[in-house]
């Protein structure tokens, strides 16, 4: 195994072990499961099916996911910086890129497990409360199905991982844990609220043409996530409605946020530790 790969896995494993030994993550997991089950049961979607549950959860998740990304990621790098650990790791010739991607991968697993547990619990609740309508054998529209919910889970995780990368970037740029949380909240609010606001402003002011709307929606993480969920999950069960977003462009937009944030984090970290 090459040094870079073994270094990556050493850092990645340490990140996972840290998470497994941090009690608050277990509490967050229980809280997320409880919250999503309560929203599902309370919204009434569980009794109706998977897609109505997605409709119930979409807006709450647009708030919950950024909060979770901040909770899991804001200390990811700044704690090591404050401890002076990065100066020590530099003497082991750990490249900034390997460090950033390993920390991100570790935190991504943690976030995926926490969020995935909540969504899988929701899937189970819906499957016990109401299955897909099996009286219909064939239709030109799609059937409500657990596969659509699985698609929703995947899109939610892609959205969460994009926000986690933005939060990690703020953690690299911060001077202290306190500034890290302030920067993370500021950046996420800017991206989440500012993204949607910019699109609305662009449409009303005319600098976004109607024809470019689907591509513009892919630029802001929240609208990209919302558009992709509407297009690939909710619209599937509707007879003729579509055009809420471009799924490929939306997912590409979320990946672009992830990669841009991680590369920026690497460059800033390299600058800070040289």
């Amino acid at each position: 195994m090459s040094t870079i790969v073994s270094t990556f896995f050493a850092l990645f494993k340490r990140e996972l072990k840290t998470a497994m030994r941090t009690r608050v993550y277990y509490l967050i997991t229980v809280g997320v499961i409880g919250l999503l089950l309560a929203l599902t049961a309370g919204g009434g979607g569980a009794a109706t099916g998977y897609v109505p549950t997605v409709v119930d959860l979409l807006l709450p998740l647009e708030v919950l996911v950024p909060v979770l990304a901040i909770a899991i990621g804001y200390r990811s790098v700044v704690s090591d910086l404050e401890r002076g650990e990065l100066a020590v790791l530099k003497t082991y010739d750990v490249p900034s890129s390997v460090y950033v991607f390993a920390i991100y991968a570790g935190r991504a697993v943690v976030l995926s497990v926490i969020l995935g547990s909540g969504l899988l619990a929701t899937l189970l609740l819906v499957s016990f409360s109401s299955g897909p309508d099996t009286s219909i054998f064939a239709t030109h529209t799609g059937l409500d199905s657990p596969l659509l919910f699985a698609r929703f889970i995947v899109l939610t995780l892609v959205f969460a991982l994009a926000l986690l990368a933005i939060v990690l970037l703020m953690s690299v740029a911060a001077q202290s844990t306190l500034t890290a949380i302030a920067l993370a909240v500021g950046a996420v609010v800017l991206v989440v609220v500012g993204g949607d606001a910019a699109i609305i402003l662009g449409l009303t002011d005319g600098w976004i043409a109607d024809a470019d709307l689907l591509n513009a929606l892919a630029i802001a993480p929240n609208s990209a996530y919302r558009g992709a969920v509407f297009e690939t999950v909710i619209a599937v069960t509707a007879a003729s409605e579509s055009g809420y977003g471009s799924p490929i462009t939306s997912v590409a937009g979320l990946f672009a946020w992830t990669i841009f944030s991680l590369i920026s984090a690497t460059l800033i970290l390299h600058r800070r530790t040289v």
Partner: protein, 255 residues
């Protein structure tokens, strides 16, 4: 800063091989010059101590030697053998990721190198083997410093840099930290240490570099510095040199 008489009982440096060489090293932050035209060579098998008042650039010089800061002018050359980890480092306030034991912490650092590390031997050297299963957050300040020293020598780097290893420690722990630096030097490692404890420096250092007013104000073995300044101990050398507003001469004593 302690003022007490002490005698260097260490054997003379065993090697004159240069491991680190700084030439005309200058560091400025905007208009503020922190270090100005520093030349120094660190040899294998010796303890080189950096002393000087607070704010004279000791930590800056150490970070320049480590390559963690870019000099404004001049350069630092690593002249030691080609190894996986050329320079080890003990920060001024070593801290470790919580939730891990002493042994797990050292094993983690060892896993970053291909060179195998005997963690048992390493922890025994710093008297931490008996507490190897203790979480790092449950260690005392002195033990944390010793763990930092153990970390700094993972992979047997030819040079190690200790930033104030005795700071904040009780006399026993402080002495222990300096004893380890001497043991490392006896095994051929080039040790660079910054400290305010002049008694320990006088006892354990082969070469003392006194930084004052951005430059090396005095340099040489402790006893020779005392002879040159006709004083009894290193504290008086320090007092004599730093009392001057600006160093007029750069006293260098050849070993």
């Amino acid at each position: 800063m302690s003022k007490q008489q002490s005698t260097n009982t260490r054997p003379a440096a065993t090697s004159q091989e240069a491991v680190l060489r700084a030439t005309d090293l200058t560091k400025q932050y905007s208009e503020l010059t922190v270090l100005d035209s520093i030349d120094l060579t660190v040899h294998a098998g010796s303890v080189t101590a950096l002393i000087g008042p607070n704010g004279t650039g000791k930590t800056t010089l150490l970070r320049l030697l480590l390559g963690h800061l870019e000099p404004t002018a001049g350069n630092v050359e690593y002249a030691g053998p080609a190894v996986e980890r050329p320079i080890g480092y003990l920060p001024q306030q070593p801290a470790f990721r919580p939730h891990f034991t002493v042994e797990e912490t050292i094993s983690f650092y060892a896993s970053l190198l291909e060179t195998p590390t005997d963690t048992k031997e390493l922890l025994t050297q710093v008297d931490l083997y008996d507490v190897r299963n203790r979480p790092v957050e449950a260690l005392s300040g002195g033990m944390t410093r010793l763990l930092g020293i153990a970390q700094s020598v993972v992979g047997n780097p030819p040079a190690v840099i200790f930033d104030e290893p005795a700071s904040g420690l009780d006399p026993t722990m402080g002495t222990k930290a300096f004893e380890i630096t001497a043991q490392l030097a006896e095994r051929g490692t080039a040790v660079i240490v910054s400290s305010h404890d002049l008694a320990l420096v006088e006892r354990y250092a082969d070469t003392v570099i006194l930084l004052h007013d951005k430059q090396i104000a005095a340099q040489g073995p402790p006893q020779q510095l005392c002879q040159t300044h006709s004083v009894a101990d290193l504290w008086e050398v320090y007092d004599a040199v730093t009392a001057t507003e600006t160093p007029q001469t750069n006293t260098e004593v050849t070993q």
